[in-house]
Every structure is written in structure tokens, then in C-alpha cells.
């Protein structure tokens, strides 16, 4: 079947690459450009840029970061954080993004999902969901980078989002994010059971082997990785080897000898 996608996730604040725990306590990691290029050269299948500040000021930084990245990085880029309108989406797509990821604005105005999907295609409209467990097999969608409750059930929300036109789900477990405790496989499974569009599991990857259960049990189509890459606990090459040994289809990639 299709290949598992290995995605490097870069959380951005202002001009910096940052990383937190549970999307909080952000630490500066360094230059987004340097890290993005390294992940591209290691064979990342895609990049996700997520603006954690989501202000207009931050978004301009983000557009510049993405635009500069397109000069030497030739893989798909998804960009999220602070996109509140079709015009915002158009602006970030013009800056070189291939897809937009939307959470807060979609919760406030679900029709935005449809408007973006109609204008740019569903493949362009990634529904970003920040999920916190609130009970047995029950998760609530959070907005504003994991800070605000929405009162909405994650499974209901992803079903509705796909009906409205979302072509992909970026599913971040706020509980696991930055903890290195592994993915929330039950959450991922609940979402992949509920919708037919691809789901990207994000949050919790502490070691390459963590992807085994999220793919086998969770049925994730892709994994987003941040902490494990930023702190150089594994390279994408190593992660791909683990995936391949487990029998998952992964992209054939040969590092260019420079």
C-alpha cells in the first residue's frame, strides 16, 4: 500500500525554531532554515511549519521563513498557525506553502474549511487538531496552541471537518507532545477509524521504535517528528531504517553524496 510519510515538524516563534512540552514552556532550538535543510537532506518526506504565536507579526516571519526555504528545499511544506481567512491562506500559499493547517479559526468558523477547500482543493486544507484526553477513549479539541478548551469532541470534530472539505488531519496529542513518551495510539486509532482521509500523528515520539505502534495499531498514515530530531536523538535516516525493518513502506531515498 502507500508509503508511511516521515514528516519533520518545526514549531516557530518569531524568527526562531522552538520546542516545548505539552505545547508550553517553549525553548529556542535555533535557526529554522538550518534545521529544515538538514531534515530535507536526511530525506524527510515533508515539512510542517507551525507558528506558535499566531499573530500577524509572527505570520510575516513565517511567510519569510517558508519563502526562503523554497530556494533549496524541494519537498512539500504544510504551514499552520494564525491562518484565519481564505486571504491568509492565499498569502501563505503564495509564499511557497503547499498546504495550510488550520485549527483555531476552523473551530470558530467551520465554514472556513469549506471555503479553503473550494478555493484551493481539499488536498490543500489540513485540519489541525490539538487533542487532550478527558476520559476513557474520549478527547477534547483544544485551540490556541493547546491553551483553550473548545468543548468539542475530537472524533465528532474530525468527522465534521472531513465532511466540510478537510483533505488531511494533523493530529497532535497535547498530552504527549514534547514528552518523549510515545504517541497516543488510541487517539490516532479513534481518528483513523472515524475518517477516510490521511492522518498525521504528532506528539510524543521519543525513539524511532515509537512509530511501530502508532502505525500498526493507530493506522497513522504519517508521523510528525520534532523533539527527536531537534535534539538529535535520531536522524530521519535511522528512523526510516527502523520503519523499513518493521516492514512499512517508506520512500526509497538515497542521500546525495555532496
Amino acid at each position: 500500500m502507500r508509503n508511511l510519510r516521515l514528516i519533520a515538524r518545526l514549531d516557530i516563534k518569531g524568527p526562531n525554531l522552538i520546542k516545548g512540552v505539552h505545547l508550553e514552556g517553549l525553548r529556542v532550538i535555533g535557526s529554522p532554515a538550518e534545521h529544515a535543510l538538514r531534515y530535507y537532506q536526511q530525506g524527510a518526506d515533508e515539512l510542517i511549519y507551525m507558528d506558535c504565536v499566531a499573530s500577524l507579526y509572527g505570520r510575516n516571519h513565517l511567510a519569510n521563513i517558508v519563502s526562503a526555504a523554497t530556494e533549496d528545499i524541494f519537498i512539500p511544506m504544510t504551514v499552520g498557525g494564525g491562518i484565519r481567512s481564505v486571504d491568509d491562506a492565499a498569502q501563505i500559499l503564495r509564499a511557497g506553502a503547499d498546504k495550510v493547517a488550520i485549527n483555531t479559526a476552523a473551530v470558530a468558523d467551520p465554514d472556513l474549511i469549506t471555503r479553503i477547500a473550494r478555493r484551493f482543493g481539499s488536498q490543500c486544507m489540513v485540519l489541525s487538531v490539538e487533542a487532550k484526553q478527558i476520559g476513557d477513549e474520549q478527547w477534547e479539541a483544544y485551540t490556541d496552541n493547546g491553551r483553550e478548551r473548545s468543548g468539542i469532541d475530537v472524533i465528532d470534530w474530525v468527522r465534521r471537518g472531513v465532511e466540510l472539505g478537510a483533505g488531511e488531519i494533523l493530529l497532535t496529542s497535547v498530552d504527549r507532545e514534547g514528552t518523549r513518551r510515545g504517541f497516543d495510539c488510541a487517539l490516532v486509532k479513534a481518528v483513523t477509524d472515524a475518517v477516510s482521509v490521511p492522518a498525521i500523528a504528532s506528539g510524543g515520539m521519543g525513539k524511532p521504535e515509537d512509530l511501530l505502534s502508532v502505525v500498526n495499531e493507530g493506522k497513522a498514515d504519517a508521523v510528525a517528528m520534532a523533539d527527536i530530531l531537534h535534539y538529535k536523538r535520531a536522524t530521519i535516516d535511522e528512523i526510516r531504517s527502523v520503519a523499513r525493518s518493521a516492514g512499512f513502506g517508506v520512500r526509497e531515498f538515497h542521500r546525495k553524496i555532496v
Binding site: M1, R2, N3, R5, Y40, G43, D45, S67, T70, E71, D72, F74, I75, P76, L93, R94, A95, G96, A97, D98, R118, R119, F120, G121, S122, Q123, C124, G167, E168, S196, V197, P198, D221, A222, R251, E252, F253, H254, K256
Partner: protein
Amino acid sequence: MSTTDVVVIDYGVGNLLSVRRVLEHYGANVILTGDASEIIAGRRVVLPGVGAFPTAMQVLNEMQLPPVIREVAARGTPLLGICLGMQLLLDESEEFGTTIGLGLIPGKVRAIPGIASDGQSLKVPHIGWNGLHPAEHADWSNSLLSDIRPGEAVYFVHSFMAQPNAEHRVSDCMYGGHKVSAVVAKDNVIGCQFHPEKSGDVGLRIIKRFLKL
């Protein structure tokens, strides 16, 4: 105009910056334009596109570009359609009803079946990296893929697939047991269902080859 001039048809859809950047990576002079005379004068022409087939055709029609693109094809100018831009080259698409395409490559565009050949449900859109394989009876040696080894992977993202006549299929990928047209060609008119500008080193080699046509 230098021999590497490329016109990218700008009709308001898609990530044109990435297409421009990948062409510039090899030193091409790139113009993004919707102007008929500039398009016709292009040494090479790229028709990009993401989104829905009917919307794209509607915009092209409003800009009166279909006859311009047919003129480019008739002149023998290398013309590369990417993703939806490839699908537009065909006769028609069934996306949201039937819409007439540019008719430069015989065939139709149909939805990717939501069921794999083994009866399991199949995720649509088809998003991700997938290997390129020669279509039946196709010869790669003189095609856009001459520098690509069978099996090398490129990045796809689409819900519909082109079904050209067999003679115009250059390369397929396999998705859910279905053969999905990846590269189509008729003389100087070429289409890639995948995004060469987003396909890393493999895509770069395809673009490099396009700039030598």
C-alpha cells in the same frame, strides 16, 4: 530569449513559487504570466495547477487561454502539465460532473476508486511518495524520465487520475492495486501527475531533463 527560458502559466492557482524556484535552481529564466503573447513566445511552457478541474478550466476560459495553450502545443514547444495541469491536458474530467479539458492528450480523468483491488477501503486523496514504473510497452529512454530508475519515488497528491489512451502512458504508479497514470506524453505535450518541484532529488532530475528538451 535564452534557451532556458520557461513560461509558467499563471492563472491564479497553486504554489507557483515552488515551480519557479525549482526551474531557477538550474539557471532557467522563468516568467510567470497569463499573457497570451508571452506564453506563445515561451521556449518551454509549464501548466501548473492544484484544486478542482472545473474551477481551473473556468478560469482558463475566462482568461481565454485554452486556444493559447493549444497553439503552444501545435508549435512543438515543450509543454509540461503538473498535477491538475496534467489532467487539464486531457479531453474531459468527471470531477463535479463532466467538464471539457484542453483535449491535447486523448483520454479522460476519473476519480481514484475508494476501494483497493483487494476489496479494502482505499484512502483518497492519494497523498505521499510513490514509485514510478514504466507503463506497459512504454519506453523511457527518450522521455522526461530518462534519468530516473524504475521504482524511484516522487510526491503525489490527488483525488482524480488521468486515463489516457495506452499509447500516451509513459509511467504509472501503483495505488491500492490500481495503476495510476504518473506521466503521460504525446509528442511535445507532457504531463506529470506528481509534483516534480516537490519530489526532492528525483524531481530535480526530471526538471533538469525538461530544461534540455
